[in-house]
């Protein structure tokens, strides 16, 4: 019962490459030096080209010697004599569209006929591909040069091969749609006809290939459909959950609902006797939430047999070390702390007290946002096959590279004993940066000595996440007599596992808004004890901080009697980089441009009927500048309708316009869904929500009209999985105020009585 898709790679080349490169010379992905690596001419002729940025020539030379006779799929481009072109996409596809965007970049520089290109998921081999993970909206930014050179080098070799065959100068030739054309005579050769000759040529160095100017792009910036769309709409096997291997068993894993609990006893004999159950056993785990926590594994002959047995499972947990976290307690404690100064001062800049003393107006407010879960629609799963001291893994993961390390640590084996296949993921949102499910599957497969597919239930997924941490901000700020923002103070109440530093993504990073834009600023912090794991959730930190900061800024504009647009532009000030020399930092000129664009496109300032209002917000994160305007109405019973959201963004040049617009639309809906009704509460260390009934992901009916506008600047491109999300919540809250006079300071809005 082997499935064709996803492909199972034998992948013999990766071991060689790793083996011939020592630790210091496998640093791919850095863009200070660029080395092109021709891996091998494939059997039967053709061109396979891999590119390693920053890799030294010694590793390259030895690799190509060893691999001269191998078929090695671990490269970006494969052109066969029959004309077929395969482009390998190196990064995990989690819905961000990278499996289409990355090959588009290669195809642009290659001048390949996109309609004839086939895209395949690359095997994991960081020695060849460099970074192979999806997080921080970094995939495009970190691969832009690498992928462009990969395409351009191959194009140059094909062009040289044609010129040599014709006996003309390469400068007389050009390329278009997978064809080399001799401009003088109009002679043409298809890439396939040149593949064999091109494979015999030396790979050009970085200085001898010319990259296209943006105005020469034919493919980049257009709307291209996802390369897997046809397979998706016809139900082909693509996702992690679809993986099947011969002789596979099905596993579930039950962990203590309170993090840190271990198994005291369980009715294992009873479970083993159930229909279809092959084994049930306790794994002690290694105590790491990112790897393997204690639990009970049930291995069965089908998913349902395993699920049904799990319902019969009775575990008595030893909770002496387990979390006792309570969200209601946290709210009570934070509310009590709100009026007190923070325990530690993190930033003290200028003279805040003086600014308050001389203020025309001061505003104080207390903002709260909850823990939330990632809840990708495909619950966590992983297929693993341990045999003879080695393991093969098929996983939907955002971080295949670090997954290998974690499995190695969990099992106590070397990383070269692990082969990992990355499969399409049914959503990520940061959840699959963690590979706990991968470690669990690996340990279960080793225990039973058979291939297993571990399948989490939705309830498992909601109970064992690395949640976006909740938080509390007690704010005070001032505007002076000229109506200018003059001082800002924040007592931030967050959570900590060790009493020293905030829990993962529960911190306020250096240089957070509005510190770099304001003379008088103070940030203090108090930590509440917390044990339940937290982690990056789409636009980590920013997803919550934007709500607080950009809502409060609107409160100040109101207090000053100023138009929000004008006030916000004034806060941004003169066009400049906030970290001079760093083109991934906030540029106030780019910020002002997207703010103005969003305002203009949304009809900012134009009158609206009573009960309707517009709200504006800007946020910068992940090198992306985004402003959004929401138009909402609120009726007397707090029924909220979001009619329209206008998005304006600057992330540099757009790779795939359709994909980019899709990410923005998705970010708006995700932002709305989360702010309206999503909240993970805990009591006694246990997550109280268990499925979508209590964690109501937004349905289609509440979808607003969404307009997306990009400023395609010439700054380096960056990713779009995250930066369009943060401004949504404050834009909607500011619009609610404009529509109703109600200031929403607590998320989700269901807590304030709003409904859709």
């Amino acid at each position: 019962m082997k499935i064709n898709q996803p492909r199972i790679f034998a992948n013999p080349a990766s071991a060689h490459l790793v083996a011939t490169s020592d630790a210091t010379n496998t640093v791919c992905g850095q863009i200070n030096r660029r080395t092109f690596l021709k891996i091998a001419g494939i059997s039967g002729g053709g061109l396979v080209l891999g590119v390693c940025l920053g890799g030294p020539s010694r590793a390259v030379a030895s690799a190509s010697n060893i691999l001269a006779s191998d078929f090695a799929p671990n490269a970006f481009i494969q052109i066969s004599p029959d004309g077929s072109i395969v482009i390998y996409s190196k990064g995990p596809e989690i819905g961000q569209g990278i499996k289409t965007a990355m090959p588009m970049i290669v195809a642009e520089e290659l001048d390949a006929d996109w309609s004839q290109v086939r895209v395949e998921q690359a095997p994991i081999n960081t020695a060849v591909y460099g970074r192979q993970s999806a997080g921080g909206s970094r995939s495009i930014a970190m691969s832009w040069d690498q992928l462009r050179y990969a395409g351009a080098a191959a194009r140059s070799m094909l062009l040289t091969a044609a010129a040599e065959r014709w006996g003309v100068a390469a400068s007389e030739c050009t390329t278009r749609l997978s064809t080399v054309i001799h401009t003088g005579s109009g002679r043409r050769l298809k890439y396939g006809e040149l593949a064999e000759d091109a494979a015999a040529l030396p790979v050009p160095g970085e200085t001898s290939v010319t990259l296209k100017q943006r105005k020469e792009y034919r493919l980049l910036g257009t709307r291209v459909g996802g390369v897997d769309n046809r397979a998706i709409v016809t139900g082909q096997a693509l996702f992690g959950i679809d993986q099947v291997v011969p002789g596979m068993l099905y596993a579930v894993y039950e962990k203590c609902p309170a993090t840190g609990g271990s198994v005291a006893s369980a009715n294992l004999d009873q479970i083993r006797a159930l229909d279809g159950v092959r084994d049930a056993f306790v794994l002690a785990g290694n105590g790491l939430t990112t790897e393997l926590m204690p639990g009970v594994a049930i291995v069965a002959t089908s998913t349902w047999a395993a699920f049904a047995a799990k319902q019969q499972l009775r575990v008595s947990w030893d909770e002496s070390d387990a979390a006792t976290d309570s969200w209601s307690d946290a709210i009570a404690q934070a509310t009590a702390l709100a009026t007190k100064p923070g325990k530690e001062t993190l930033v003290e800049q200028g003279n805040v007290d003086d600014a308050f003393e001389h203020a025309a107006h001061t505003v104080e407010a207390f903002y709260t946002y909850p823990f939330v879960s990632h809840a990708p629609l495909e619950p966590q799963n992983c297929t693993a096959w341990y045999q003879d001291g080695a393991i093969e893994i098929w996983a939907p993961t955002q971080t295949p590279d670090s997954g290998i390390e974690l499995v190695a640590h969990t099992l106590g084996i070397e990383t070269d004993r692990i082969t990992l296949h990355q499969l399409r993921a049914g959503g990520g949102f940061g959840r699959r940066l963690m590979n706990d499910y991968m470690c669990e599957a690996a340990a279960i497969s080793r225990h039973v000595g058979a291939p297993v597919k571990l399948q989490w239930t939705r309830e498992d997924d909601m109970a064992h996440d690395f949640y976006r941490p909740g938080g509390f901000h007690s704010l005070k700020a001032a505007v002076d007599s000229s109506g200018k923002l003059s001082g800002w103070q924040n007592h931030f109440i967050t959570f900590s596992a060790d009493g020293q530093i905030p829990t993962s993504r529960g911190d306020i990073p250096d240089g957070e808004f509005p510190a770099p834009l304001l003379a008088n600023y103070r940030l203090t912090q108090t930590l509440l004890p917390w044990k339940t794991p937290t982690g990056p959730w789409r636009a980590p930190r920013s997803n919550a901080l934007a709500f607080v900061e950009q809502s409060f800024l609107h409160e100040l504009a109101i207090a000053a009697g100023r138009d929000h647009l004008e006030f916000l532009l004034e806060v941004m000030g003169e066009p400049r980089w906030l970290q001079p020399g760093d083109d991934r930092s906030l540029n106030t000129g780019r910020a002002a441009a997207v703010i103005k664009l969003a305002a203009e496109k949304s009809g900012w300032g134009r009158p609206l009927p009573a009960g309707r209002g517009r709200g504006l917000a800007f946020y910068f994160c992940h090198a992306g500048h985004f402003a959004e305007v929401a138009e909402v109405s609120v009726d007397p019973n707090k029924k909220l309708t979001v009619h329209r959201v206008t998005v304006a963004g600057d992330i540099g040049p757009i790779v795939n316009l359709s994909g980019a617009e899709n990410q923005c639309e998705g970010a708006v809906i995700d932002g709305l869904s989360t702010m309206l009704g999503l909240e993970i509460t805990l009591e006694q260390g246990r997550v109280q929500e268990s499925n979508f009934g209590q964690y109501p992901i937004l349905g289609i009916a509440a979808t607003p009209h969404i307009d997306v506008h990009f400023i395609q600047s010439d700054f380096p491109p960056t990713g779009l999985g995250e930066p369009a999300l943060p401004p949504l919540a404050p834009a909607v809250c500011n619009a609610i105020f404009a529509a109703s006079g109600h200031r929403a300071r607590t998320l989700p809005l269901s807590r304030e009585g709003f409904r859709t």
């Binding site: 499935i3 596809e93 819905g95 961000q96 459909g225 996802g226 897997d228 769309n229 046809r230 998706i232 709409v233 016809t234 139900g235 082909q236 096997a237 693509l238 996702f239 959950i241 679809d242 099947v244 099905y250 229909d275 089908s302 998913t303 349902w304 699920f307 809840a375 990708p376 629609l377 495909e378 619950p379 399409r424 993921a425 049914g426 959503g427 990520g428 949102f429 399948q455 239930t457 939705r458 994909g659 899709n662 990410q663 639309e665 998705g666 970010a667 708006v668 809906i669 995700d670 869904s673 499925n691 979508f692 009934g693 992901i697 937004l698 349905g699 289609i700 009916a701 979808t703 969404i706």
Partner: protein, 159 residues
């Protein structure tokens, strides 16, 4: 033995008849296009047709499919491989992000168009509200349904 007819093909399956249809489709028949999202009728990822009516296959026992025509996403295109107008529209509007919910979305939409060939936005809201898309592709889902409906109507006119 459980006898099921899926996408026009009769199967005799050695499985407990109380197993949810979803898992029989996925694990026993290898029809993995139908997805598991919640297991409790909340998300719609597992939507298939029983005699043309949309059901949540995670929450119906396989035995209730006996004697019925079961259609899954794999069987929505015609036998000669021509895609259903919804599948075409989904590609044309580049609807998917992660793609995981889309089989269920398309199956719900197909059942909608069967009973209501020209749905309004409100009809779409009604029929599709419980098909959750965690990635938020609703704008495009709506467009694709309207565009498929228009295509079907045009074809009908030509006949």
């Amino acid at each position: 033995m459980l006898n099921l007819t899926v996408n026009g093909i009769a199967h005799s399956i050695d499985v407990d008849a109380s197993t949810p249809l979803l898992w029989v489709l996925r694990d026993d028949l290898g029809l993995v296009g139908t997805k598991f999202g919640c297991g409790k009728s909340f998300c719609g990822a597992c939507t298939v047709h029983l005699n043309g009516k949309p059901v949540r296959s995670c929450s119906v026992p396989a035995r209730s499919g006996v004697g019925q025509a079961i259609t899954t996403i794999e069987g929505l295109a015609s036998k000669n491989g021509t895609l259903h107008p919804l599948q075409e529209a989904w590609i044309e509007h580049d609807v998917p992000q992660c793609g995981y919910c889309q089989a269920g979305q398309i199956m719900s939409a197909a059942a909608l168009l069967e009973r209501n060939p020209v749905p309004s936005d409100a009809d779409i809201d009604d029929a599709m509200q419980d098909n959750l898309c965690r990635c938020g592709t609703y704008v495009r889902i709506r467009k694709a349904i309207h565009s498929a409906a228009a295509k079907i109507a045009n074809k009908g006119d030509q006949v």
